[in-house]
């Protein structure tokens, strides 16, 4: 990860039209943007194009970044707003469960998946991903930003435009729901290592 002074220098150069500097900015932030976009949309097929849209917007507005927040927070916010607009255009639920109504016996084998394949893919990561997919996009995003990107409640709040308490509440609710789902489907000892 690029340090603050190197990032600042890259941003200044990119504002002046330096393509290599902007490439460095993209490389430094593409993981964060991918996390936000993938978690918000839950759809890998749309995610790459959306990530590209996010960085085009970052480039267009780079001159307007005034350093009032961390640059990564600002980029993440653009990613979040781009996802919201995308979901609104597609008339998809913004904060609701993406897979409402899938609980129950049919949910056991996963969507369109053969039982054998399901059994083979029962490793921990696959289980977590499967259960994560059932959480609302916002909760998935908060979970990933907190645990994978190691952002604080305050940074996540700034990025998603919500108070620290709301972030905490989303995070706690998401973990509780995830744990309940995992416990319900798998035996306790095989559910978590």
């Amino acid at each position: 990860m690029m340090d603050d002074s190197a990032l600042k220098a890259c941003i200044e150069k990119a504002v002046c039209g330096d393509a290599d500097a902007f490439r460095d900015v993209v490389l430094a932030h593409q993981r964060l943007v991918a996390h936000v976009v993938f978690r918000m949309t839950g759809n890998a097929a749309d995610a790459e194009d959306l990530c590209q849209d996010v960085f085009v917007k970052v480039y267009q507005n780079l001159g307007g970044f005034r350093g009032e927040s961390k640059f990564s927070t600002w980029v993440g916010r653009i990613a979040y707003n781009t996802c919201i607009n995308h979901l609104q255009k597609k008339r998809m639920p913004l904060f609701g469960d993406m897979r409402n109504g899938l609980e129950g016996p049919d949910d056991e084998a996963g969507e369109g998946e053969l039982p054998d394949a399901y059994a083979e893919g029962r490793d921990l990561k696959a289980r977590l991903e499967r259960e994560m997919a059932c959480l609302p996009g916002l909760q998935r995003t908060v979970l990933t930003l907190y645990h994978v990107d190691e952002m604080s409640y305050i940074e996540i709040g700034e990025m998603l435009g919500m108070p620290e308490g709301t972030v905490k509440s989303h995070l706690f609710r998401a973990r509780k729901r995830l744990k309940e789902r995992l416990m319900k489907k798998y035996r306790v000892e095989e559910c978590l290592p």
Partner: protein
């Protein structure tokens, strides 16, 4: 002490309190149920730090750079086009204004005719513009000039100031709940 709530356990783990506050630590020693809940939560938190099943392909940054460079060139072309139209409108309006006002300034431009065939062609073009402006604006050519100037300024401001500002507002300043 009552059993620990899920929120208490999560808060404690999030804060990275190790050891956690005394009363909680003591309770965990005595209560198997809360100890199990604590362990389950801790394991879940450990698992959640695994990378999601999605990453951008190699060469993504190059594609982004190529797309913004293309966009920048298109913008430059647009700005150039709008500027040229604005300059053209201003020239024609200005010419019409000088001529139709009968200010006698035309004589100062007659040297253009002496520039050979290129000068003659340019003069013919000016004549055409004069006829066109005369037919279009008539006696109101001064108003036409003012209107053209205002339009040109708005068009340029729209390209250079308003649109970038509005884009900034819509992409980074909005709060959606």
């Amino acid at each position: 002490m009552k059993h620990l709530t899920e929120d208490q356990i999560q808060s404690c783990l999030d804060a990275g309190r190790d050891p956690c506050p005394d009363e909680i630590a003591l309770h965990l020693k005595q209560c198997g149920r809360c100890r199990d809940a604590w362990e389950e939560q801790r394991k879940l938190i450990d698992c959640l730090s695994m990378e999601p099943d999605f990453s951008l392909p190699d060469g993504f940054a190059d594609r982004v750079v190529a797309s913004v460079s293309g966009g920048k060139n298109r913008n430059r072309l647009r700005i150039f086009g709008v500027s040229m139209i604005a300059v053209g409108v201003l020239l024609i309006s200005g010419y019409a204004w000088f001529i139709l006002k009968g200010s006698g300034l035309e004589k100062y431009f007659e040297w253009i005719k002496s520039l050979g065939s290129a000068g003659a062609r340019f003069w013919a073009m000016l004549d055409f513009a004069r006829e066109w402006a005369d037919g279009l604006f008539g006696e109101r050519s001064d108003l036409a000039l003012a209107a053209a100037m205002v339009l040109a300024i708005i068009a340029l401001a729209d390209r250079l100031i308003f649109k970038p500002r509005m884009a900034l507002f819509f992409t980074s300043g909005r709060t959606i709940r």
